[in-house]
């Protein structure tokens, strides 16, 4: 059937802010879907609250609403836009949940709006545990024995019958939020309680554990004519028990005979047909490693993280096809965009192996619980393509950017055997490295398979890697051994370690023997048909397929896996840079390793190399492509860190020179610059050892801000208030050395703000100043920010503009830079200069209407700002106020303190825009799901420093009619200042203690600024964790509280007695 002509206008719901379990993959799928619908001449209305995405660019949809994805706002937009239909299946769980809410509210019926893709009944059948079980029974598809529990007692009752372990899965949550495996009553009680409170329908599934089964996934598609097909199947390295988002995954399946593959394929197709999904669907299955028994674990009736991975793994654009199917097209009517000759009704055949490894945030959250289970914890992932398992795995390992270039973590050599086997059995994020260590110690792979239930096939691949290591060590400068190593994914650096040479020597040796990689195409059809996809991966083989274009080219380095501090914002900038390069007439080539992103969609660039972003891999591509130069400004710290080594090897870095980048990043050099310009900065110094650090701090006076040099996202940054704490920090938080000095600055209390600037060497364009709502001390990535500034005096703004101009010109910035300021007593101090695009680029680009990454790219390619129509100075502001608010994923991460500080903790952001500050703030809070009800109890626990300020805030809450609750210390202070405060009981596990009150819904807002180190007795972390677990709005900075009060006050009338 051709496309539907009875609908004209379609609303697409995005996935909102990036959180663990719902990340950049939905920017990719949403962007694809909107573009596909536009291609078919539909009018597309998009709602998404996340400014950091390509999807929310003006040109992606006809109308882009950067508004909160809440019933209130989406309903308003529906009434205004009157679309004929909504496509909710490409915005993750958020999209589906919103669709359900809209439907329940009755607005869809009222306005005659149809849901495309997946019917509500199918969403229910797939997501409601009871209905799902019924459907599977009807289809004759096995599911693990399970029971539904609405209370903890029901959960315990089930486990009583089935025995432990049992798996708990809350209904209608994404990324397995709140789920877990319970081994006993106590664990089950805890997990079930948490899960029930997180489930919007207070329902959890308790299920017989099938831990140890092979975990297999099928990505399937179906159209309205009931044509159904499998795009990709995948096998998890980690057996059932670890969330697939936290598992190492291979595509295609590796250890299944065809009979098993077909059995599971039949099941997957039967399910998508029964659910009548028109679009994509993900089916997860568990297969007994010792029989044909299998179980259906889960079905996602929508495009998912796995489908993004499957799209990149096969080249088959699932989201684009799903959108077209949703409007009536059939699979055999849509051309396969990869081959251009065959139809979309085609099951891709791979002739390579794909390995995905998740990227976890534990390098930043060092105190977090690293154990893996049914709750996803990864923030991002990398994918690598190779011609065998070893190559794909090692390429993926070095793509992770966790400081290793091989599957070896040297620090594990010191681990004792007991700890080793404990870490093998109880998997953490680093289990792969423990496995490698165990194999090197001589554990047999059969023993390891017994311990871990990981298939011996995969373990044998790891064993093979260690065998190659041994051979390498025994055969220095042996080209045959090196060839084997390279074909199995070894880096020059690893070989150099074994040969006691440096990586450049190995490279030269290799090149002298013509041992260089070739690039093969990802074409969906294993070479059977001619394809023109510009999508390549490197391997060591016979024939190179990547033909170098005659046009001059520019290589853009992407930003690798999404992690805290380096999120989707950098992918946004990368994609825009590519667009500008193309418009300038060059061939734009991208290198990146992240399967979730828009930048790794092969249709974005002229050529995509899906490769690790290491020096060796980048040099290899440069050797082949010989680009005019490389752009590193948009790929975050990943790309910037490659600038120096690339330049050292004669590669042309476009934009700000490497020497000038270093002048901005090297503390001493930067000091000289800033002194010569007479720009004030907080007093500070650099220390290369503990003793110097203490001396410096004594001289500056406490509090001081300490951090390692060259970091992004404020890793290991701390505000230190006394000598003992600094001593502790130097010994525990950082490894200080001459190569890795520590920066120590006086900590100035004041307002923080930042600018992004674009400079061509003569003109300095400042698109905007962003004022932070939280004062200095909270990481800029975790601060709410407002544009244009609301409380900065003209004098301060002028100072900012002047300093920015001076710094950009003096540092010879060509392209982008970001500067952070603190304002203390009306004086502007420079805290930090980043000679590259920052995470605020998408937000500022959207609110100022200056496509910053494109402007900067044109500058980098030689077109001056004047030629582009820009003058030096601050760009004019509009009459709208825009607020950016951070979004956190604390509910997914145990033992991560939610107290905000100088270390970044947020995973995503939202934006709220309106005519007034209060309205914009309201939207930002709503979009961030920090909904403060108009009445209720406010619980206040603050540290001593904050008490005077807390009094003022408490008064304002009181004036609005809220009841005040406080822990004893805070309560007595507030009472002394004339406030009526109820003291909450100490947390003693008693029936009426605070935690129970919170669980019982008796607390509506939590304000808590007490860090655990200071006042453990106040149970700061416990209160914060409880509020996160129960979804109670939590504020850990008083400035944020003032902001929410501003909102509430603007919405209330003043009631005052005479």
């Amino acid at each position: 059937m051709p496309k539907r002509t009875d609908i004209h206008k379609i609303m697409v719901i995005g996935s909102g802010p990036i959180i663990i379990g719902q990340a950049a993959e939905f920017d990719y799928s949403g962007t694809q879907a909107c573009l596909a619908l536009k291609e078919l001449d539909y009018e597309v209305v998009l709602v998404n609250s996340n400014p950091a995405t390509i999807m929310t660019d003006k040109e992606i949809a006809d109308q882009v609403y950067l508004e909160p994805i809440t019933l209130e706002f989406v309903s308003q937009i529906l009434r205004k836009e009157r679309p004929d239909a909504i496509l909710p299946t490409l915005g993750g769980q958020q999209g589906l949940n919103m669709a359900m809410e809209l439907s329940k509210s009755g607005i869809l019926d009222e306005l005659h709006i149809e849901l495309l893709g997946t019917k509500l009944s199918a969403i229910d059948q797939a997501e409601d545990r009871e209905q799902f079980k019924d459907l599977m029974e009807k289809l004759g598809e096995p599911v693990p024995a399970s029971g539904i529990a609405h209370t903890v007692d029901e959960a315990l009752e089930f486990a009583d019958k089935s025995g432990f372990p049992v798996i708990v899965r809350p209904a209608f949550t994404m990324g397995g939020t709140g789920g877990g495996i319970a081994e006993n009553d106590a664990e089950l009680r805890e997990i079930a309680e948490n899960g029930l409170s997180l489930s919007p329908v207070t329902q959890v599934l308790i299920e017989q554990s099938i831990a140890g089964y092979k975990e297999i996934e099928f990505e399937v598609m179906r159209d309205a004519a009931d044509n159904a097909m499998v795009v990709c199947n995948m096998e998890n390295f980690d057996p059932v028990g670890i969330h697939t988002g936290d598992s190492i995954v291979y595509a295609p399946v590796q250890t299944l005979a065809d009979r098993e593959v077909q059995m599971l394929r039949d099941a997957a197709l039967k399910i998508i047909r029964a659910l009548k999904i028109e679009g994509g669907c993900n089916v997860q299955l568990a297969l007994d490693p010792h029989s044909f028994n299998y179980y259906i674990i889960e079905v996602n009736p929508r495009v998912s993280r796995s489908s993004a991975l499957a799209s990149k793994a096969t080249g088959y654009p699932i989201a684009k096809m799903a959108a077209k199917i949703a409007v009536g097209l059939h699979l055999d009517e849509i051309k396969n965009p990869v081959t251009g000759t065959t139809y979309a009704e085609f099951e891709p055949a791979l002739d390579y192996v794909v390995c995905k490894i998740p990227r976890w945030p534990f390098d930043k959250f060092t105190k977090a619980d690293r154990r893996l289970g049914t709750q996803m914890k990864a923030t991002g992932e990398v994918m690598a393509i190779g011609r065998n398992v070893e190559e794909a795995t090692l390429k993926a390992v070095r793509s992770l950017e966790i400081g290793v270039h091989h599957a070896e973590e040297p620090s594990l050599r010191a681990v004792d055997d007991d700890q080793l086997s404990d870490k093998l059995i109880h998997a953490q994020d680093d289990r792969l490295f423990y496995l490698m260590e165990a194999i090197r110690r001589g554990y047999t792979i059969d023993d390891l398979a017994e311990l871990t239930k990981i298939n011996v096939f995969f373990l044998d691949k790891l064993l093979h890697i260690t065998e190659i290591e041994t051979t390498l060590k025994a055969h220095v400068d042996d080209i045959d051994v090196l060839t084997t190593a390279k074909r199995n994914g070894f880096t020059d650096e690893t070989v150099a370690d074994y040969w006691h040479e440096d990586a450049d020597t190995v490279r030269q040796f290799r090149e002298a023997h013509q041992l260089t990689p070739v690039y093969k195409m990802v074409d969906t059809c294993a070479g059977e048909f001619e394809s023109a996809t510009p999508y390549y991966y490197g391997t060591y083989e016979f024939e190179n397929e990547s033909v170098v274009d005659q046009r001059p080219s520019v290589l853009v380095l992407g930003s690798g896996p999404i992690r805290i501090g380096q999120g989707v914002e950098f992918d946004y900038a990368t994609v825009h840079s590519v667009k500008a390069i193309q418009k300038a007439g060059y061939e734009a080539i991208i290198m990146n390793s992240n399967p979730e992103t828009v930048s790794t969609d092969f249709s974005v660039s002229d050529k995509l190399y899906f490769e690790p972003l290491t020096l060796e891999d980048v040099l290899n591509v440069i050797d082949l492509e010989k680009p005019k130069g490389v752009i590193v400004q948009f790929g975050g710290q990943t790309a910037i860190n490659l600038a120096q080594p690339l330049a050292d090897r004669g590669v042309q870095i476009l934009g700000t020179s490497v020497a000038d980048v270093n002048r901005a990043e090297d503390r001493d050099a930067f000091d000289k610059v800033i002194k010569s310009l007479k720009i004030p900065q907080p007093a500070g110094d650099t220390a290369s050892d503990e003793a110097t650090a203490l001396t410096i701090a004594d001289r500056l006076g406490y509090p001081v801000l300490v951090r390692p040099s060259y970091v992004l996202g404020g890793r290991a940054m701390e505000i230190v208030k006394k000598r003992a704490d600094l001593d502790h920090y130097m010994h525990n938080a950082v490894k200080v050395s001459n190569d890795h000095p520590v920066l120590i600055d006086r900590y100035l209390v004041g307002k923080e703000c930042e600018v992004d600037a674009i400079c061509d060497g003569e003109t300095v364009l400042i698109p905007g100043i962003m004022e932070h709502i939280e004062r200095a001390g909270v990481h800029s990535g975790d601060s709410m920010a407002v544009y244009p500034p609301q409380s900065l005096s003209q004098a301060v703004q002028d100072q900012i503009v002047t300093y920015t101009k001076q710094l950009a010109l003096t540092l010879n910035c060509i392209g982008m830079m970001n500067i952070q300021f603190v304002i203390h007593d009306e004086q502007v101090y420079v805290i930090e200069v980043n000679p590259r695009a920052s995470r605020t680029v998408p937000f500022l680009s959207k609110v100022t209407n200056i496509s910053m990454a494109q402007v900067a790219t044109r500058v980098i390619l030689g077109q001056s700002l004047r030629e582009q129509g820009f003058e030096t100075g601050l760009a004019p502001v509009s009459d709208m106020v825009h607020v950016k608010a951070p979004v956190f994923s604390f509910s997914k991460l145990n033992r991560v303190d939610s107290l905000l500080g100088p270390e970044m903790k947020s995973t995503g952001e939202v934006m709220g825009s309106d005519k007034t500050m209060a309205k914009a703030l309201y939207k930002a809070f709503e979009a961030a799901k920090l909904h403060v009800p108009s009445t209720g109890n406010v619980l206040i626990t603050v540290r001593d420093d904050d008490k005077p300020e807390a009094v003022k805030l408490a008064r304002r809450f009181h004036a609005l009619g809220y009841q005040l609750l406080a822990t004893s210390g805070t309560a007595s202070y507030l009472t002394d200042h004339g406030l009526n405060v109820a003291v909450v009981k100490k947390i003693d596990g008693g029936e009426n203690d605070l935690l129970h009150q919170m669980e019982a819904g008796q607390v509506q807002v939590v304000i808590n600024t007490v860090s655990d180190e200071e006042q453990a007795a106040d149970d700061g972390a416990l209160i914060r964790n409880t509020s996160i677990a129960h979804g109670i709005p939590l504020f850990t900075a008083l400035d944020t509280v003032a902001a929410i009060l501003q909102v509430r006050e603007s919405q209330s009338f003043v009631t005052q007695a005479l």
Binding site: Q262, P348, A349, D351, N388, C525, G527, E528
Partner: protein, 364 residues
């Protein structure tokens, strides 16, 4: 051990030997299935061919006792990118390497199979040899080597044998059958009699079967002329169902023509549309020859199925007789089960024919 894959056009690919250490000559073809190597290697339609897999890792799950498609594999060689070091699957009984050694089939690994696949895609399937060393006359000798035309005779059973059950009586004419055909018929309780490829119509009629199955098999259908008069006679009286080579022979017998494809269809992601309903099945395929669409015009055959991408004739039905055929393998093994309903249609056809026969007897 270093070995070489040498193509008739002179291209040489160095690799490493595995399987039997013998030299071999055959037509080099590629298969795009990502699993199912055991079924393919034991598929007698590969008789005379050197089988190359485009999926780079072959042997991952070993060889088991259940998934053989013939008793004795007859392909001439196996070309892979990487043969598994260690097989892992609960049913695995031996490694692929051991299996090929046992069956005296040479293999070559460490080949850039993607490069070779693209070469064949562009140049067409061609003769190739796997040898220990490349001598000055290796290519010339390869060029003049005549590949055997008696591949069907080699693959077919020489003696009739039964596979008794309680359902309809079906004669299976074996041109090099895959066990999966017998499995699918047995699953439907057919009482089977398997006869050699050169069985005559009268021998079949003597068994008074309810239906006749023409199986798959290797090589050029035009090399099996003996089957054509048999088919022409049998189709008039008894429901007939052809698969793969059986389909091509059914077409030839009814006056259509066949041709050699450039590189054939080998894999199991080929979408096939049933023209009457629009239904699309993903099908398992293994054929280097196909029925010419144009040649159908002057015949009593109509095209019932087509490959959606290149339009290959994938199914035929006789306008007057209860006879039909498909080019693909509804019996799968390896590959998707999407099309196994075709066997049900055969069962239904036999049942309907029985009823019609009884009625016509009654009316007479």
């Amino acid at each position: 051990m270093k070995r070489y894959l040498v193509l008739a056009d002179g291209t040489v690919y160095p690799g490493t030997g595995f399987g039997a250490p013998t030299a071999t000559v055959g037509e080099l073809v590629f298969n795009t299935g990502m699993s199912g190597y055991q079924e393919s290697i034991t598929d007698q339609s590969y008789n005379g061919e050197i089988l190359m897999f485009t999926y780079p890792l072959i042997g991952n799950y070993g060889i088991n006792r259940d998934d053989h498609e013939s008793i004795k594999p007859t392909c001439k060689g196996v070309v892979v990118h990487e043969v598994a070091r260690r097989a892992s699957n609960w049913r695995s009984e031996m490694s692929l390497d051991d299996y090929l050694k046992q069956n005296n089939i040479p293999g070559i690994t460490d080949i850039d199979t993607r490069a070779v696949t693209k070469h064949i895609r562009e140049q067409g399937a061609m003769k190739a040899t796997i040898v220990d060393e490349v001598l000055p006359d290796t290519v010339d000798r390869l060029r003049v080597t005549e590949l055997g035309k008696a591949v069907v005779a080699e693959s077919s059973t020489t003696n009739a044998y039964p596979n008794p059950s309680t359902g309809p009586n079906v004669v299976v004419v074996d041109f090099g059958l895959k066990h999966s055909i017998l499995r699918e018929l047995a699953k439907r309780h057919c009482n089977l009699t398997v006869l050699p490829y050169n069985t005559t119509a009268s021998e079949i009629m003597a068994l008074n079967p309810d239906g006749v199955m023409l199986t798959n098999g290797p090589g050029d259908p035009k090399d099996v002329p003996s089957a054509l008069p048999m088919i022409r006679e049998v189709e008039k009286h008894i429901p007939l169902f052809g698969i793969c080579l059986g389909h091509q022979l059914f077409a030839l017998a009814n006056g259509a023509d066949t041709f050699k494809m450039k590189f054939g269809h080998r894999g199991f992601n080929h979408p096939v549309r049933e023209i009457a309903t629009g239904r699309i099945d993903f099908t398992s395929q293994n054929h280097g020859y196909a029925v010419s669409k144009e040649s159908l015009r002057q015949t009593d055959l109509m095209m019932t199925h087509e490959e959606i991408n290149d339009g290959t004739v994938e199914g035929l039905r006789h306008r007057d007789y209860a006879a039909f055929s498909v080019q693909y393998h509804p019996d799968a093994a390896p590959g998707p089960h999407d099309a196994d309903h075709i066997f049900d249609e055969f069962i239904d056809l036999m049942a309907a024919h029985q009823v019609a026969r009884k009625e016509s007897k009654f009316n007479a």
